[in-house]
């Protein structure tokens, strides 16, 4: 097949493909509005923190330079000083001309490819490898059966912006778990303090917003969400917020999509083990 043949084949393919009905703009616009509200709310929080700090600083100056001069200090509450995000976050009107985030540590995008945060991501994966349950193995370096990107075991450290002047990081790892020829996977996702997740336990939602049902449980008196996935995204997970705001999701799937392997007959971890993993200090990354 040469270039011209591929071009012709693509056109013939799309000419015979019967596309679904046109997409409706309503759900997309709704999703875009929700996304904007979340981003605004996040920056409102940052702005409030900045404003509060400014009020305190101003109060100190006032106290130092006057004696009991009260009154109200009007401080711009919506002017986060962080340079960490794009136009729509810093300026909902979109009038700013600078939309490129200032990536941390000399990065060219959100993903750390070296340095301490990259190392933390790698360490997360190694920690995951220490909790492989009896009877299962965690092979390393296996490739996707269909030529997909990267090995099946992988980790990533992604910068998630700033909150209150502090960098927020999202670390995650995925580890294949095998029993014989069958394969499932363990996923751990950790967001450092300042993250956008709200609530505790079930209120945190499922991993990456996946659908599922949640039952509230506790570990050591702390609320943990126990999730059951769906037919399309099978598996079970646990969601937990540490006191410092770090959020941990642990998810196990009976299959590793793209691995070319048959799904596990049984999930590797019991519900209790999964709940304890979510609260384990191994995954309390800062």
């Amino acid at each position: 097949m040469n270039e011209q043949e591929l071009r012709a084949a693509m056109r013939a393919t799309m000419a015979t493909a019967t596309a679904p009905p046109p997409m409706s703009e309503t759900p997309v616009l709704d999703a875009a509005r929700r996304d904007e509200r979340r981003r605004k709310a996040r920056w409102a929080g940052v702005g409030s923190a900045v404003a509060a700090a400014a009020v305190v600083a101003l109060a100190v100056v006032v106290v130092a330079t006057t004696s009991g001069a009260g009154g109200t200090s009007h401080v711009g509450a919506g002017s986060p000083t962080s340079s960490a995000t794009g136009t729509s976050s810093q300026d909902p009107s979109g009038s700013s001309s600078n939309t490129e985030p200032d990536w941390p540590d000399g990065q060219t995008d959100a993903t750390a490819t070296a340095g301490p945060h990259y190392d933390t991501g790698v360490a997360l994966l190694e920690s995951m490898a220490t909790v492989v349950p009896a009877g299962f193995e965690a092979p390393r370096g296996l490739e996707f059966a269909d030529g997909g990107a990267g090995p099946l075991d992988m980790s990533q450290a992604a910068w998630d912006g700033k909150s209150g002047g502090v960098d927020v990081w999202d670390y995650y790892g995925t580890l294949p778990l095998t029993k014989g020829a069958r394969m499932g996977e363990l996923i751990v996702d950790v967001k450092t303090p300042g993250n956008e997740a709200t609530g505790t336990g079930c209120d945190l939602g499922n991993l990456w917003g996946w659908e599922g049902t949640c039952v509230a449980r506790t570990v050591g008196g702390e609320p943990v969400g126990l999730w059951t996935g769906t037919e399309a995204q099978p598996g079970r997970g646990a969601s937990f917020r540490h006191d410092d705001g770090t959020v941990v999701w642990v998810f196990q799937s009976p299959e590793y999509f793209g691995s070319g392997r048959q799904a596990l007959s049984d999930l590797p971890y019991s519900d209790q083990q999964l709940l304890e993993l979510a609260t384990d200090e191994k995954f309390h990354l800062g």
């Binding site: 693509m10 393919t13 046109p22 997409m23 997909g148 990533q156 999509f257």
Partner: protein, 165 residues
């Protein structure tokens, strides 16, 4: 609905079909293609004020779309849901080329994501090497090598003289 939203929805109505087709060739599944398009437009909405009036809007949107697709694959296959059904894709017009379509889609499925993106942008979108590089966020040399490797991969899985055109 304000002016911003009206402009955005008008653009979506006029262009989402074309972007969905590109996404379909990238991922081979209508459900995923629509997810990719939706994610793309949510990201586009963030920058709408800045980019809407530009004549590079399509290029900008296409770049988001390709990177969304690549990012999805980079983050791992677990990130996407499995297709559970063939989405309204069973009533192809008569003409005997449905099999060809499936052959091509299966063959593209054997090509790694970046190579596949290079092939789709170059030969479906008819983009130049330079524009493809810009969309993929890589060098022109990388586009050439990814395209060549992608074609090699296709030759390995598609029998010669398969397509009836």
């Amino acid at each position: 609905m304000n002016d911003r939203e009206q402009g955005f929805t008008d653009y979506f109505a006029s262009r989402s079909g074309a972007f969905r087709a590109t996404a379909y060739l990238l991922c081979g599944d209508w459900h995923r293609a629509e997810d990719i398009v939706q994610t793309t437009f949510v990201k586009l909405y963030r920058a709408w004020h800045r980019i809407a009036a530009h004549d590079t809007l399509d290029a900008y949107t296409r770049r988001i779309l390709v990177r969304t697709y690549l990012d999805e694959n980079r983050r791992g296959f677990f990130f996407r849901e499995k297709p559970t059904a063939d989405h309204a894709d069973v009533s192809a017009p008569p003409g005997g080329s449905t099999e060809d379509r499936l052959v091509l889609l299966r063959a593209l499925g054997e090509v790694p994501p970046r190579q596949r993106a290079a092939l789709v942008l170059r030969y479906w979108e008819d983009m130049s090497v330079e524009d493809t590089a810009r969309a993929m966020g890589c060098t022109e040399g990388t586009v050439k090598s990814q395209t060549a490797r992608g074609l090699d991969a296709l030759r390995g899985v598609v029998p010669t003289a398969t397509f009836t055109n």
